[in-house]
C-alpha cells in the first residue's frame, strides 16, 4: 500500500512558521509517520496538486492500493484529486463549520467530508461533533498523534536520576526569570523604570537552574486559545507566599518579542509574589528538553479547548500529572486519577478561521477559582503526599498509553484504512453494476 502524506508546513518551513496557523499539523504528521511506515510505503509530497494523482496513477497501474492523507483542516484539503483523499485534522469546538463563508465552499466542512467519504481526527469529542453534522455512521476515527512510546521511554530514564537537587538546563534563546528581572520595566509607560530585555541582542546560550515544585506549560502565546492570563494570575495568587513553587512557560513562537511582551507585562501586573515565573523562548536540545521534563512536577493547561495538545500528552506520557480542564480532546485522557481537574463552563464563540467571527460554536472557559484550588491541592500532594503523587504519575503513564501509544494508533489506522478500501471497493462494484 502507498500512503501519500502532506502538510502545508514541512521540515523546511517549520522554523519560520512556528506559532503561525496550522503549524502544528507538521508535528502531527511527524508523529504519525513511523506508524504509517509499518502499514505501507510512505511518500511525503510537497505539492499535492501535481504529485498525488501521478503517484496514484502509478499505483493503479500496478494494482497497489493508495491513499492520500492530507494533514490539514478540511477547508484546506483538496477535493479534486482522483486519489482517495482523507483529511487528518485537529478540532476543539462543539460544532464543525456547516455553512460556506467568505466565498469558499470548502468552508462548509460537510462538503469536503462528503467528497472525501472519510476522515481522521484526534479525539472522540471531535468524532461526535463531525457525526452530529454528517451522520451517526460517518467513517471517522479518533487517532491521536502517537507520542507515548518515545516519551514513556524518556520518563523511565528520567526516574533513574535523583530529582532532589537542582537541575541545570542550557537554552539557546531568551530566558526571563521573575527573580532576576526588574518587573517595573514592564509597567505602563508613565511608570516604567529599570532595564527590560534587549530583544535585538544576539541569541546566546543561557543556563537555567530549576528546583522545588515546578509546573510547566508549553504553548504558543499567539494562539488565542491558551488562556495563559489565567494560568499566570492564578499561580501568582495561589503561591504569593510560596518560595519553592515555580511556573515555567516554554513558548513556541517565531518572534521572541511578540511572544514575550504581553506575558512580561502580566508578570508586572500580578505583583507581588514570592513564587518564581520563568519564561523560555528558544530551542531546547533533546537532552535539555528531557531535563525540563525531569525537573517538572506538573504539566499545566488552561486552554479554552484542545484538538489533542501534544505537550500535555508528552509530559503525561513521561509520568507528569496534569493541572488541566477535562474538556474537548482532554476528556479522552484526563481523569481525577492523573490530574487536578479545573472546572470550566461553555461560552459562545466563532470558528477560528471564520473572518465574519459569526457566533456558531462553543468553547470552554476555565473557572479561575477552581484553577487556584487545583494549584494548591497539587502543591500539597507534591510536598506532603509522595505516594499519591507516585500513583498519579503511574496513572498518567498508563492512561496516555491507552490514548496515544503507537500500538493504539497502528491498530486504529489499520482498521480505518481497511474500512476505507472496503467501502470504496463496494462503491466501485455498485457503480459497475
Amino acid at each position: 500500500m502507498l500512503i501519500i502524506i502532506h502538510s502545508e508546513t514541512n521540515q523546511h518551513t517549520i522554523t519560520q512558521n512556528l506559532g503561525r496557523s496550522e503549524y502544528s499539523y507538521y508535528f502531527v504528521l511527524k508523529e504519525y509517520r513511523p506508524v504509517l511506515e509499518r502499514i505501507g510505503r510512505v511518500i511525503e509530497v510537497a505539492d499535492p496538486q501535481t504529485q498525488v494523482d501521478a503517484l496514484y496513477g502509478e499505483c493503479l497501474a500496478r494494482g497497489e492500493p493508495c491513499v492520500f492523507l492530507s494533514f490539514s483542516p478540511p477547508h484546506r484539503t483538496p477535493v479534486d484529486l482522483a486519489c482517495p483523499t482523507v483529511p487528518v485534522f485537529a478540532w476543539e469546538f462543539s460544532t464543525i463549520p456547516n455553512e460556506p463563508f467568505a466565498g469558499e465552499p470548502r468552508n462548509d466542512w460537510r462538503s469536503v467530508l462528503h467528497a472525501c467519504g472519510a476522515a481522521v481526527t484526534h479525539s472522540s469529542y471531535t468524532v461526535a461533533a463531525v457525526r452530529e453534522a454528517m451522520s451517526a455512521d460517518y467513517p471517522i476515527s479518533a487517532i491521536p498523534a502517537p507520542v507515548w512510546d518515545r516519551f514513556a521511554a524518556r520518563g523511565r530514564q528520567a526516574q533513574d536520576h535523583c530529582a532532589a537537587e537542582p537541575l541545570r538546563l542550557t537554552i539557546k534563546g531568551v530566558v526571563a526569570d521573575s527573580r532576576q528581572l526588574d518587573l517595573n520595566a514592564f509597567a505602563p509607560e508613565h511608570l516604567r523604570s529599570g532595564e527590560g530585555i534587549d530583544f535585538a541582542a544576539p541569541v546566546t546560550e543561557q543556563t537555567l537552574s530549576l528546583e522545588g515544585v515546578v509546573y510547566t506549560s508549553v504553548f504558543n502565546p499567539g494562539d488565542g486559545r491558551k488562556n495563559w492570563e489565567d494560568m499566570l494570575s492564578a499561580f501568582c495568587v495561589s503561591f504569593r507566599e510560596v518560595e519553592d513553587a515555580t511556573l515555567v512557560l516554554k513558548l513556541t513562537h517565531f518572534d521572541a518579542e511578540e511572544a514575550l511582551a504581553d506575558i512580561l507585562h502580566h508578570l508586572y501586573k500580578n505583583q507581588s509574589y514570592r513564587c518564581r515565573i520563568v519564561l523560555i523562548h528558544g530551542y531546547l536540545a533533546d537532552p535539555d528538553y528531557e531535563r525540563l521534563v525531569q525537573a517538572t512536577r506538573y504539566v499545566v493547561n488552561t486552554s479554552y479547548g484542545e484538538g489533542q495538545c501534544l505537550p500535555l500528552m508528552e509530559f503525561m506520557s513521561c509520568g507528569k500529572p496534569a493541572v488541566a480542564p477535562r474538556t474537548t480532546a482532554m476528556i479522552d485522557y484526563l481523569s481525577a486519577e492523573n490530574a487536578f481537574l479545573i472546572e470550566s463552563t461553555d461560552e459562545l464563540t466563532a470558528w477560528p478561521h471564520d473572518p465574519r467571527k459569526a457566533f456558531r460554536t462553543l468553547r470552554y472557559v476555565t473557572n479561575w477559582a477552581s484553577l487556584c484550588e487545583a494549584y494548591r491541592a497539587s502543591y500539597d500532594v507534591a510536598k506532603n503526599q509522595p505516594q499519591r503523587y507516585a500513583a498519579m504519575s503511574a496513572q498518567a503513564v498508563d492512561s496516555l498509553q491507552a490514548f496515544c501509544s503507537q500500538a493504539v494508533a497502528e491498530q486504529r489506522l489499520r482498521a480505518f484504512l481497511a474500512q476505507l478500501f472496503e467501502h470504496r471497493a463496494a462503491a466501485g462494484e455498485a457503480c459497475q453494476a
Binding site: 505602563p188 501586573k269 461560552e347 459562545l348 477559582a369
Partner: protein, 525 residues
C-alpha cells in the same frame, strides 16, 4: 441635624453625565435625599468649597452638621472642618490600602480612618472595608429606599408571565433585530466584480504620474526649487515650511535615482528632506445614525426580558447577556430581549452593537434596543412589559434597575455576587453561577491586580434563560410565586421605614427619628 450633600454630578449636568463613572453617585444622592430629609435639614452644595462656610454658619446658630460626600474617598476633600462621611459605591472585594502617584488620598484606609465612619450600599462593600479597617469600624450599609416608589405600579399591574402585547415608547430611537436586515455574511466586504476591478485598475493607472523623463525631472526641479527659493509657502492660509518643497522634489524627482542602500542613510542625515511623507490618515466614513429627537415606539409580546445598562460600562458584561439570550432562543420567536441603553452618545456603541447582532444572526428570537430618554410614564410601561429582568454583571455596587424591576414584581436572572448577595437568591431569581477573577482597582494607574471581581458563567446564564422561559410558558403559578417573593424581598430590603431607622441609629438620632412623620408619599426621587 444638618446634612450637607455634594456630588460631582448635579441635576443640571446629569443628562451629559449619563454613562460616566460618577453618574451613579448622583442617583444615590437623589435616592438618599428623602431619607435624610426625614431626619434633618438637607443642603445640597454645588462645590466642596461651600461646605465649611455653611458648616460654620450653622455652628454659629448652634446647629450640628455632617458633610455627606457622594464621591469616592480619593475625590473627597480631606481638610474640611465639617465632620465628613463618604458614601462609597464600590464593587470589589478589597479597598485601596496603599497609595500611588504620590497621592496619599488614594489610600482609602487613611481617608476613612480620618473620617471615622463610612456609609456604603452593600454588605459586600462593608466586608471589604472592615477587612481593611478592622471589624469595629463603623460602617452603615444603606441601600436606596425605593420600594414605596413602585406602589403605583404594583397596584395597577399584576405581573404575568406572557405579555399579551404592550407598546413601548421613547424619545430617541429603537433598533429592532427583526428590521435591521442582519446577516453575518454582510460583515465581510463585498468582493469586487471583474468590471469594478477593471474600473479601479484604470483609475489607479490614470492617477499615476507621467514617466520620469529627463524633461519631466527638470520641470519638477524647477517647480519645487522656485517655491523653495522664494519661500512661497510662507504666506499661504496654512503656511508650508520651505523645506517641504525640497522634500517633494527629492521624493518626486530624485529619490528613484539614489541607490537603495543610501535611502536609509540619507533619511537619517536629512530627515526633513529625505524622510518619508506621513501617510495621510483616511477618516472612517461617518456612521449613518438614525435621528434621535422624535418619539418612537414599538410593540412587544411573549416572554419579555429587559435589561438596562451603559454599554461603555465594563462591568456589565453585556456581550454575554445578549449572546446567551440569542443562543438560548435561536429558535423561539416569542422570546424578546429589550435593552434600554443609559448612554447618551449612540456613536460610542452603535457599531459594536450592530456587529454583535450580525455575528449572532440568524436567530428567531428578537432583540429590541432602546436608545434615548424615557419619561416616567414611558418607564412605567417598560417595568410593566417585562416578564424578567436580566443582569449578567461582573460586579455591582448596588444595581438600581434590578431593584426597580424587582420592586415592580418582576423575577430576575442575576448572579448572587457583590451587592446582589444582599437580595438575590433562588426564591426571587434564576441565579447565574460565577467564578472569581483578578482585577485592578479602577482608579489605580499602576494597573496592578489587587482585587477580585466575578466572571459570570455563560453556560449557566444560558440555562437561566431556558429555565425562566420554561417557567413563564409552562408553570405560571411558579412565576406568580417568584413575582410575589421579589416584591416581598424588596420590601424587606429597601422599604423606607427600616432604612430610616438604620440611618438614624448610625447618626445617633434615634429619638428624634421616632417623632418624625413617615414621608412615604414624598419619597419619590
Amino acid at each position: 441635624m444638618n446634612f450637607i450633600l455634594y456630588s460631582d454630578v448635579s441635576d443640571s449636568s446629569i443628562s451629559q453625565s449619563l454613562g460616566r463613572p460618577e453618574y451613579s453617585y448622583y442617583f444615590v444622592l437623589k435616592a438618599y435625599r428623602p431619607l435624610l430629609e426625614s431626619l434633618g435639614r438637607v443642603h445640597v452644595v454645588s462645590a466642596p468649597a461651600e461646605v465649611d462656610p455653611l458648616y460654620r454658619r450653622l455652628l454659629a446658630a448652634g446647629e450640628d452638621s455632617v458633610f455627606l460626600s457622594f464621591a469616592p474617598p480619593q475625590k473627597t476633600p480631606a481638610d474640611l472642618q465639617c465632620p465628613t462621611v463618604c458614601v462609597v459605591a464600590w464593587e470589589f472585594d478589597s479597598i485601596p490600602d496603599e497609595q500611588w502617584d504620590n497621592d496619599p488620598r488614594q489610600d482609602w484606609t487613611q481617608m476613612l480612618a480620618r473620617q471615622g465612619r463610612v456609609i456604603t450600599l452593600s454588605s459586600h462593600t462593608a466586608r471589604a472595608i472592615r477587612r481593611a479597617m478592622g471589624e469595629d469600624f463603623p460602617v452603615l450599609v444603606l441601600p436606596t429606599a425605593l420600594w414605596e416608589r413602585f406602589s403605583d405600579i404594583r397596584q395597577a399591574h399584576v405581573p404575568t408571565p406572557i405579555n399579551a402585547g404592550a407598546t413601548l415608547a421613547i424619545r430617541g430611537c429603537i433598533f429592532d433585530s427583526r428590521e435591521l436586515g442582519l446577516s453575518a455574511d454582510a460583515l465581510l466586504p463585498v468582493p469586487l466584480t471583474p468590471e469594478e476591478e477593471a474600473a479601479l485598475a484604470a483609475e489607479i493607472e490614470a492617477a499615476r504620474p507621467p514617466p520620469l523623463t529627463l524633461k519631466r525631472r527638470f520641470v519638477i526641479a524647477r517647480h519645487y526649487l522656485r517655491l523653495w527659493a522664494l519661500d512661497l509657502g510662507r504666506d499661504l492660509a496654512e503656511p508650508v515650511p520651505r523645506v517641504k518643497y525640497l522634500q517633494n522634489w527629492y521624493w518626486e524627482g530624485v529619490r528613484d535615482r539614489v541607490p537603495d542602500n543610501l535611502h536609509a542613510w540619507l533619511e537619517q542625515r536629512l530627515p526633513a528632506i529625505c524622510g518619508a511623507h506621513p501617510i495621510p490618515l483616511s477618516e472612517p466614513p461617518p456612521l449613518d445614525l438614525p435621528a434621535t429627537d422624535g418619539i418612537v415606539e414599538t410593540r412587544v409580546d411573549g416572554v419579555v426580558y429587559v435589561s438596562v445598562f451603559n454599554p461603555k460600562d465594563g462591568r456589565k458584561n453585556w456581550h454575554q447577556l445578549i449572546t446567551a439570550f440569542c443562543w438560548a432562543f435561536r429558535e423561539q420567536p416569542d422570546a424578546t430581549l429589550v435593552v434600554k441603553i443609559t448612554q447618551n452618545d449612540l456613536a460610542l456603541y452603535y457599531s459594536e452593537l450592530m456587529t454583535l447582532l450580525a455575528q449572532l444572526s440568524p436567530f428567531a428570537c428578537r432583540v429590541v434596543v432602546m436608545h434615548g430618554y424615557l419619561d416616567d410614564a414611558q418607564y412605567a410601561e417598560l417595568y410593566k412589559a417585562a416578564t424578567f429582568y436580566v443582569n449578567a454583571s461582573r460586579c455591582e455596587g448596588l444595581c438600581l434597575p434590578l431593584m426597580e424591576f424587582m420592586s415592580s414584581g418582576k423575577p430576575v436572572i442575576a448572579p448572587a455576587h457583590t451587592a446582589m448577595e444582599d437580595y438575590i437568591d433562588e426564591s426571587v431569581a434564576f441565579v447565574v453561577r460565577s467564578s472569581e477573577e483578578l482585577t485592578i482597582w479602577p482608579q489605580d494607574t499602576r494597573i496592578i491586580y489587587r482585587t477580585l471581581r466575578y466572571r459570570p458563567d455563560w453556560g449557566s446564564l444560558k440555562s437561566a434563560y431556558e429555565n425562566s422561559y420554561r417557567m413563564a410558558t409552562a408553570h405560571p403559578q411558579d412565576y406568580q410565586r417568584m413575582s410575589a417573593a421579589a416584591i416581598e424581598r424588596m420590601h424587606d430590603y429597601c422599604a423606607f421605614a427600616p432604612l430610616q431607622t438604620r440611618l438614624a441609629d448610625f447618626f445617633a438620632l434615634a429619638s428624634t427619628a421616632a417623632d418624625i412623620e413617615p414621608v412615604l408619599d414624598n419619597a419619590s426621587c
